[in-house]
Every structure is written in C-alpha cells, then in structure tokens.
Amino acid sequence: MAEHLIETRNLYRKFGSDETEVTALDHVSITIEQGEFTAIIGPSGSGKTTLLHLIGGLDEPDGGDVLLDGANIAEMSGNELSDFRRDHIGFIFQAYNLIPVLSAEENIEYIMLLQGRPAAERKARVRDMLHTVGLDGLGERRPAQLSGGQQQRVAVARAMASNPQIILADEPTANLDSHTGISLLETMRELNQSLNMTFVFSTHDEKIMERATRLIHLTDGHVEKDERK
C-alpha cells in the first residue's frame, strides 16, 4: 500500500474540562498526497488551526495519530520532533512570523543554519528565495520595515528555504488586503506547481479557496465535506 504524505487517523482533540470542555477536533481522518494544494475551510472555531497544529506536531492530540510520510509523530522524542519540523515542514502563520531582530535575509537563513548547511549555500539560497517571492533588494530590511504582505512573503521564503516536503499555513492571507492576499497565494501556487511542493492552508476567504485544488470543510471539529477539483 502506498503511503500518504499526510495521514490523520481518528484525530481527536478537546480543550478544557467538564462544563467548559470543547471538542476542537472530533475523530478527523484525512489523507493528503504529495503535491496537493489543499485549503482547510470552515467557520471560526471549527478546528482549522487545531488541525494544522496537530499535523505539524505543534500540539498533541487527545486521541488518534498523525503520520507524515508513514512516520507516526507521536513516537518521536522532543528533539526528534524539532528536527523533523526543521527538515520536513515549513510553517506560515497569520502574522508575526518573523524574528523581529533579524533582517529578511537572516530570517530566511536562520532555518538553514539550524539545518547546518554551509554558508555559501545558505547565502545563495536566500537570494534565490527572495527572488522567488518577489522581494529582490529588500533582504536587508527588518520585519518592521516591511509591509504585511512583504512580511508574509518573507515567511513563505523562510518556509521554503529548508526545502520541506510540506508547508502548513494558518490563514496566511488573513491580515492582508484581498489584492495582496491573492498575489501571495498565487506565489504559493506557483511554487506548488513548479516544485510539486505540498501546501495545506486554512482560510476564510472565498477568493483564496477558489485557487485550491482540494477543499476540506470543517464544522464543529469534523470533516463535513472533502472535495477535489
């Protein structure tokens, strides 16, 4: 049986206890294949962020498993999971993705430094990545000197820099105006197509969902609809 790039089995996550208990994810089982451009959509509180965090190993489920390329992340130690994230997963969050004291270049370079890649290779790849996300010439700016859209592009570049298999993005366009948001998404889509890189992102935005090749609808923590286009 061919392994899926991402597989969740009966993923269950609750928060709080007794009266305040909320079931954020209710036995979610999905599979995502290499090269898919998947949007996770649903109303606020439906569990999108929770699902992305569990897939990325940023949170632990109360039940069920996450398998990435066949490996169960629950079986990894803390450091193994850190290293796994570093080498296989790129993250983009809604905002404040970047280390404020580092320039755009340094933010992108840092993850490669964690991977122990040689300096020359890092520098070249930083230049490459900045070009890919359309930020030529802005590498030396600090995050505070960049617009929200530019910051998110740096975040995309950083997520790509480590050459991961999967990029997880939690509402990457939510803080951007719709034009900037669409242009960011188009960049992501191009990378997805040219490099066959797998993207999983959440969004509220209709215009953004349209561009996904797959839509997973979440309601109250369970998958309501799963459509491939």
Binding site: H53, L58, D59, R86, F93, Y96, L102, E106, E109, L114
Partner: protein
C-alpha cells in the same frame, strides 16, 4: 553565528531595560572588585606585619624541628645553606636563629622565658626587631669589658620581673650536651609591647646563645625574605630541591593555624559579598523572565520552525552573558581608577589596629588579576545561573499556546 546575533540585537532592542539590568550587574561587579581589592590589601598588610615581625617568608630547619622542636635538631652545614640562599636572586635577606626555653630570674622572681639567639647583623635584614626596641638600644654582638653579654627582653618579661635597663637577668636552661646551662646577662633593651608574640622572650646575640646552650656554631633556623611574598611557595620548593637534607617551609606552613584562619575568614567575606551580588541578581532574574514572557510568540515561532528547546535555553543564556560581559567591561573601566587609588594612596581607618606591637591604621587595596577575575567569574556564574529559569521557561513554551489565536 546567528544565535549570537539574535542575542546581541535583543539586548539593544530593549535599550532601557538592558541599561538598567546592565547597571545593576556593573554595580555588583564594581562593589565586588572594590571589596576584593580591599580584602586582599588588608590581608596583604596583615601578612606583611606578621611575616616581617619575625616569621619571614620562608624558614629552613633540620627535619621536623617545626613540629617537634628539640635542641639537638640543628642545621650543621651552614655554609651550604648560605651558598644556596646567596645564589637565589629572589632571596633578599636571611638570618640564622637558635631557640630554647629557659627560666629567667631577677631578684626573687622567676618566670619562664624563651631564649632567642639572633645574628645582630643579619636579623635586621629579615625582621623588624630593630624598630621594635622601645627602651634602650639594639644590642651588639660582643660582651662588655667584664664579659657580660647584653640581652633584650620582651615587655611582658620586663614587667613581670620588674626589670629595667642595666639590671641583671639570670637564665637557666639545659644545653645541647645535657649540661645545666646558666648565665647572667645585662638588660640592654626592651622589645615590643605586652601583646607582642615575643613579650616573654629574651633575645641574645647569636654567639652568646650558642655558648649558653652549648651548640657550638649550630643553629635551629634560617628565616628569609623574598622579593615578592606571593612567590614564596614556588621559591620554597626550589630551595627545598637544592637543600634535600633540610626542611624548607613557606610561612603558610610555619603558621598554618593563622593561615587557615585567614583563608576561612576570606571565604566568609567572599561568601557575604556573593550573597549581596546574588540579591542584586534576583532583580536581573525578574527582568530576564519578563523579557522572555514578552517574547512568547517569538519563541513559539522558533520552536515551530524547528529550534530544539535547548537552543532557546542557550539563547536566553547568551543574552544574559552578553549583557554581563558588557557590564563587566564597563565596570573594569570605571573601577580601575578607584582600585589604583586604593592601592597607591588608600585611606586612614579611625581605630588603629595593633599587630604584635606594630600599629597599622592605613587601609590599602591590592591590584592584581585575582581582584578582577574572581568577581568576574562569580558574576558570570551567577548570570548563567539566573538565566536558567527563564531559559527553561522559554524552552517550555508550547507553540500551540504561543501561536494560536486563543
């Protein structure tokens, strides 16, 4: 190294906070350096007074004379000893001595006394005996016309035996050959005061003492001074190698009780100072913890992109240590003029302290590497220690909590 860059820039990110934290580290360092300098200075003073009074920096004996003094344990081949001492360029002076317990009579009074035979020419190059003569004058080596040798006696003995200058004092003891030793001497000088270590001593010129104790030309001890007393242990071992048949002891061994007391007193002072600095650092701990909590989201991002928890501990540690380095650097610049002043000029203390008859009233500092390095090591160690709780706090930040919308 980008982690260092991050740490470095984080310090400049919160200028005011870093400045305040840095100031308290700097203040702690300056305080510690000054107190160490003064402490070293005053111990140096006490050691000087102590060693220059009589002990010297190094002593040489036969066998275990130091632990079990016996009149027959004498240094015989003095020419060899003197040749070695003369050849060593750091030895600035040496003096031979003989010792014996005795009974001292004057009129109808008797007191136990300690006979110390000293070389009238060499002894003043090693000890301050000449300056300690409070009555009469420093004696000469030869007997007077009637064949009487002059003795100098301790202030305590002078009072107990009601002796004054020119009086006769009779000493009774046992000679090295087992014979009864007794002789009459004239009091030519009084030494020190009632608290001096030699308050019950009778100083005799070396030939007189050797004759009295039937020692021939043998002596019990050579005491010597060296150029820099901090080198005395090294010099002692060099001399010991050159004089294999004798026992060479640095003053720390000769006066081991005093030395141990001094060391533990020193440790006590450092401990007190350490506590003061540690209290200063509790404030630093609070600031570091705050800066970590404020950056929860940032640490969450770092965890998410694959920083191991240990690296976050390292980052917090690095930030604190960097700030400590800056603070110490500035501290060194600020404190050095003060240390130089303490060392060169010093200040008067209101109550003079009496050290075996030598008064000292002037506090001085000491300037050496230890004065700077010991507090530096302590500050770094404390800074590292207090960064651990915030560091572990940072490492424990859960990406979910830091990054979620809740």
């Amino acid at each position: 190294m980008l982690t260092l860059t991050i740490a470095f820039r984080n310090i400049f990110r919160q200028r005011r906070r870093s400045l305040l934290t840095g100031l308290s580290m700097c203040g702690g360092y300056i305080l510690f350096v000054l107190s160490t300098s003064l402490l070293e200075g005053s111990y140096g003073n006490v050691i000087d007074i102590f060693t220059l009074d009589h002990v010297g920096h190094i002593q040489i004996h036969q066998d275990d004379y130091l632990d079990r003094p016996k009149i027959y344990k004498t240094i015989k081949d003095q020419a060899a000893v003197r040749a070695v001492l003369e050849a060593h360029e750091d030895v600035t002076g040496y003096a031979p001595r003989v010792y014996s317990p005795a009974l001292a009579y004057a009129g109808d009074k008797t007191y136990p006394a300690r006979v110390i035979g000293i070389d009238t020419a060499l002894e003043p190059t090693v000890s301050r005996i000449r300056q300690k003569v409070t009555e009469g004058e420093f004696f000469s080596a030869s007997p007077d016309a009637d064949g009487y040798y002059t003795a100098m006696i301790g202030r305590g003995l002078a009072i107990s035996l009601e002796l004054s200058l020119g009086d006769e004092i009779v000493l009774i003891s046992q000679g090295a050959d087992g014979s009864i030793a007794n002789d009459i001497y004239l009091v030519g000088g009084v030494i020190g005061n009632r608290t001096s270590f030699d308050r019950m001593a009778v100083y005799l010129p070396l030939p007189a003492a050797q004759q009295f104790l039937a020692l021939g030309t043998d002596v019990h001890e050579y005491a010597l001074l060296v150029d820099d007393r901090n080198d005395n242990r090294d010099i002692a071992s060099v001399l010991a190698a050159a004089l294999p048949d004798l026992t060479v002891s640095p003053w720390q061994e000769v006066e081991s009780t005093f030395y141990r007391t001094m060391q533990s007193d020193k440790q006590g002072n450092h401990f007190m100072m350490g506590i003061v600095v540690f209290i200063v650092f509790i404030g630093v701990l609070n600031t570091v913890l705050m800066s970590v909590l404020e950056r929860t989201r940032e640490f969450g991002v770092l965890r998410a992109i694959g920083c191991r928890p240990g690296r976050l501990v390292q980052l917090v540690l690095l930030e604190t240590l960097l700030l400590a380095s800056f603070s110490i650097g500035i501290g060194i610049l600020l404190v050095t003029p003060a240390v130089i002043w303490l060392t060169e000029v010093g200040f008067q203390i209101p109550e003079p302290i009496d050290m075996s008859g030598v008064m000292f009233q002037h506090m001085k500092g000491e300037l050496n590497a230890y004065v700077y390095l010991m507090p530096m090591g302590f500050i770094f160690a404390t800074a590292a220690l207090i960064s651990l709780p915030p560091g572990f706090r940072a490492a424990r930040i859960l990406p979910r909590d830091a990054l979620g919308s809740h």
